[in-house]
Amino acid sequence: MSGLRRALIALGALALLAGIGSVALILTSDHTTPRGLAAALILTAGWSFAGTGLYAWDRRPGNNIGPLMTAIGFTFFFQGLSSSNNDVVFAIGIIGSSLPYAILVHLLVTFPAGHFESRFQRVVVGAAYLTTTVLQLGWALFIDPTKQSDCGNCPENPILIPGHEGIANAINAVQVLTASFGIASTVAIVYLRWRRSTPAQRRVLTPVVLTGGVAFTILLAQLVLSEAGAPQAVEDGTYIAAIVVFACLPFAFLLGLLRSRIGRAEEITTALSAENEQLNVELQAKVEELRASRARIVEAGYAERRRVERNLHDGAQQRLMALTMNLRLARDKLGDDPAATGELLDEAMDELAAATAELRELARGIHPVLLSERGLRAALGGLAERSPVPVELLATPAERLPAPIEMAAYFVVAEALTNVARYAEAGVATVRVERRNGAVEVEIRDDGIGGAKIDAGTGLRGLEDRVGALEGHFSVRSRAGEGTIVEASIPCE
């Protein structure tokens, strides 16, 4: 068992004893009437506040609501002390009897969070404590209970400074004023909090607002009636009604507090499901993007095969066809026209050389052997050398990188330089490939006409997909008249 729980059990036992003691004092009182009813009500109010307060304290140890409710329960028993026939106990009871109302103000103002939200709230609660402690003590110093109409059999006031009833009345007037201020402010604070709360928060506040509202209305009525000099029976009636409602109040707090756990759980669930929804939307978008990218990569593969087939058909194959015809013709002419035969054979050799060159170029487009055998630096050197537009290699990595990264970087540079040669009308292009900050950064810059767009054709989009497949970023900056900058950043630890 935790230390806190042991302390709470001890407090519970103490509340039990305090209640029994209060009842004993009330039942043996010479000046409290009607004794049975007063005892029952004080016991109900004191025990219900202390009991529910201790329960709340145990369930929500970090929240001040439990301790405040417990304190209200204990201070309620001061009213039992004021029933004592012993003058000292009676005096202590009189001094402390209004303290529970100040704690109640504190409780209502800070419910359900258990802490202050504004300076005004502190002022209201501070005024309530001032009224029920300092002012109450001041009043007790000058009040002579034996001279009060409703306290005929009351004991003597042991701390009485006699002959200053005017001061007592003045202090009492201030108390009535500050109490009215405190009650009105508390009602306003609780009402405003209830108005601006969410439905889940209202479920927490509603029981307290209803019961507290009724309790404070009765308290205010009691205050007004007692000041207005209403008949004793009416005053007693409101007093009993206040205690009945006060006895219900702690259960309203407890209900609210327990609902706040449920409410909080609901809020967390709502927040989680909203977050979940957001994640789902993002995930769906990512999946769509990946699906589109995958489709483009597959299509790019087919397009590449079509391109290779087309290149073979239009290039090397045609040259080989012409070569075949030339050789056939040369064979036919071999006997009767050696000069024409030699000419045909020369042409055939030229066609063969051209076909070989085209096949070599095509093979390089499918897979750059220089790249896989000697790395990015050598392969980029080859690209720069073959480019019709002068290319300056500003930086290339000396070390070998993972093959997929080398391939991606190479094709970014190759495609970008092809575009420079075809469309940019550039005088020069620069290439920079560097490994830094856990990535390979690729940049191709030209001084051409600009205006390139990723969406315009399949080439740049294909590069974007190729780089994206390696979790990299690809971008093209190409304002008209300001050249083009193609950039790729590929993660590489």
Partner: protein, 117 residues
């Protein structure tokens, strides 16, 4: 009188080679065309006896050219050719109004004469 021929192919190297080969075999090459539209025009203008027609052309392809010539009436003899195999075209060759098909690798005056007469 020698057979007049129109060569239709988008590759100049093939047209040149074919012209030399057919002329060496006694044909009279009266024109060349690089695509389908030009071929239809050339047939109208030159009225050749025989059209050596590549299948894969930019724009309308050889099959379409053959079909249009046939539809126009009074069509010349059409022989389709390609650097691809006969098998690459499946049923399309049989359905075409062309007289026949010669793979480019097998083209000679003799194979053409055998097919077109």
């Amino acid at each position: 009188m020698s057979t007049s021929v129109l060569i239709v192919d988008d590759h100049p190297s093939f047209r040149a080679g074919a012209r030399r080969m057919l002329e060496a075999s006694g044909y009279s090459v009266i024109g060349e065309a690089a695509d389908g539209e030009a071929a239809l025009e050339a047939v109208r203008d030159l009225t050749p006896d025989l059209v050596l027609l590549d299948v894969q052309l930019p724009g309308i392809d050889g099959f379409e050219v053959a079909a249009r010539l046939q539809a126009a009436g009074g069509a010349p003899t059409i022989v389709l050719t390609s650097s691809r195999d006969r098998a690459d075209f499946g049923e399309a060759l049989a359905e075409s109004p062309a007289r026949g098909f010669i793979a480019k690798g097998e083209l000679s005056g003799a194979t053409l004469a055998e097919l077109a007469g």
